[in-house]
Amino acid sequence: MNLSGASYWALRVFTWMVLGLLYLPLAIIVILSFNTATSLSWPPDGLWLDWWRKAAAADAPRDALWTSVKLALASTGVALVLGTCLSFALARYRFFGRSSLSFLVVLPIALPGIVTGVALRNTFLRLGWDLGFRTVVLGHGTFCIVLAFNNVIARLRRMAPNVQEASADLGAHGMQTFRLVTFPLIRSALLAGGLLAFALSFDEIIVTTFTAGAGVETLPQWILNNFARPNNVPLVTVVATVVMLLSIPLAWLAQRLTGEPTGLGAGR
């Protein structure tokens, strides 16, 4: 295909423009975190570290951050175990209903969060369970399974079957083969799927709102509750900036592990 110089430059400028638009709002939030006023107005009245000092002293956002981390870790654990089991079953066995299972695993993430949230809330309440940390883990785990599943099954499909046969020929039994051969080969896929599940759970707000009781406040919930209070807006921009800075190394790690840019294990 012979693109003219003009089309090449047009596409190039367009690409950089879209990238610029993706980062502009984030830059605005970072700049506003140094604002002295309590509104989102532009240009900022003056810049100072006041709100950073106040944020460092505030307990509520730190507690919420800690809740979110614990929650994301628990949901990721659940998702990794279930997703890995499912991907092994689908990669290694032929059975009835096999093709509908890959549809079923995508469903919780393809249906809007409000449907998943309302459905699970309804069930938990009917079962007489108290809404709290555990019910949120159940909710988040449900839509995180697909991330572990996608990453692990992609790896299993690429893996040559003869490595396991070779291991068996050398006298290893199934458990040894798993521990010494299969697991090291899927380890980075597990880590990548786990990171994505962690990120998705950490950021989730809709399913959290419906499956959490009054006693649980995650970081997204704290942000949602405090943006509504005008006096706390700069505090929220500070916390948002910190979260963005923390997420950069995680995103970089996930990208390194899969060798692919990572969305939902997209692109395999």
């Binding site: 993706l22 980062y23 939030i29 066995y93 006298g171 840019p261």
Partner: protein, 310 residues
């Protein structure tokens, strides 16, 4: 592969059957009986996805036919079609559903229009060493947080008081803003979900051999013709995969709508409001809309090959 593997492992298990150890015994159990292994692998995920998840969806659908106790506002198990009739028979609710589908479609189309040229530049025109950095740059904002980005867009669109006093970025820097409303909702949702469209399209283009495009050019096709007749048909699965996210995530959204939508109402807002009313059966009847729309959508995109490109 599975069968061969089973046989090989079975052989080794037989050969080693004189050995002891819990691991060895467990291995023998699994490999002598492939069904035991399959059952062990599937029981957890199936219990979760079918019993907990599909079970919950089924109960939700059924509860749309429950009545509500007038005094306690609690759903009772007495059956009625009144909720579904109310949802289907009210003009305003139809308008909301149509508006939601229109917003979700607009977000999907806008994302596509932005993602296609960009993904093409990155995958086919950028210098090889720059590709990776560019695509990582396009996905990094996904990690910045949904609410952070939604509020960032609020800071962009904020119209301020009369005369733009206290207005946001657009008002302050450009002097014009669409303000809060349906336009702001579409733009914000596009901003939120655009990377989900860029990623699969980039991956699809990356797999597309450049020689195919050269061949089309050698046969006399101009770039636009190559795009329409060669690239676009091969990208259909990738576009379908990306559209699942842009469409579904926009269809059910109600938080962004609250943040930048002013008085705009989508189906998610109706569900939330009814649930808080509280009228659980009526809320359940409303959720039938997104469930039906998304399942129909998934069936269509599955035919287009979306699930292989996910």
């Amino acid at each position: 592969m599975g069968e061969r593997l089973e046989r090989a492992a079975g052989l080794s298990a037989t050969a080693a059957s004189t050995g002891g150890g819990a691991g060895r015994r467990a291995s023998r159990l699994f490999h002598g009986h492939p069904k035991v292994g399959l059952g062990a692998l599937l029981s957890g995920p199936l219990l979760w996805l079918i019993v907990v998840y599909l079970g919950s969806l089924a109960v939700l659908v059924v509860s749309a036919f429950f009545t509500i106790d007038e005094f306690t506002n609690q759903p009772t198990t007495q059956l009625t079609t009144a909720n579904v009739e109310e949802v289907l028979g009210t003009r305003a609710f139809w308008d909301t559903v149509i508006r939601s589908v229109a917003v979700a479609s607009a977000v999907t189309l806008l994302s596509l229009v932005l993602a296609l040229p960009m993904a093409f530049y990155v995958a086919k025109l950028a210098k090889p060493w720059a590709r990776r950095s560019l695509i990582v740059a396009a996905t990094l904002p996904l990690w910045a947080g949904y609410l952070v980005k939604a509020y960032a867009m609020r800071a962009v669109f904020e119209p301020g008081g009369s005369g733009g006093q206290g207005g946001g970025f657009l008002q302050g820097a450009v002097g014009w803003t669409p303000g809060f409303g349906r336009t702001a909702v579409v733009l914000t949702l596009t901003y939120l979900w655009l990377p989900y469209m860029i990623l699969p399209i980039y991956a699809g283009l990356d797999r597309l051999p450049t020689s195919l495009l050269d061949a089309s050019g050698d046969l006399g096709a101009r770039p636009l013709r190559t795009f329409r007749s060669v690239i676009l048909p091969l990208l259909v699965p990738a576009i379908a995969a990306g559209s699942i996210f842009t469409f579904s995530l926009s269809l059910g959204d109600y938080i962004t709508v609250k943040i930048v939508g002013s008085k705009t109402q989508l189906i998610g807002n109706l569900i939330e409001r009814t649930l808080l009313a509280p009228n659980q059966p009526l809320a359940a009847a409303f959720t039938l809309w997104p469930i039906v729309i998304m399942i129909a959508y998934l069936i269509v995109v599955a035919r287009l090959g979306a699930f292989e490109s996910l």
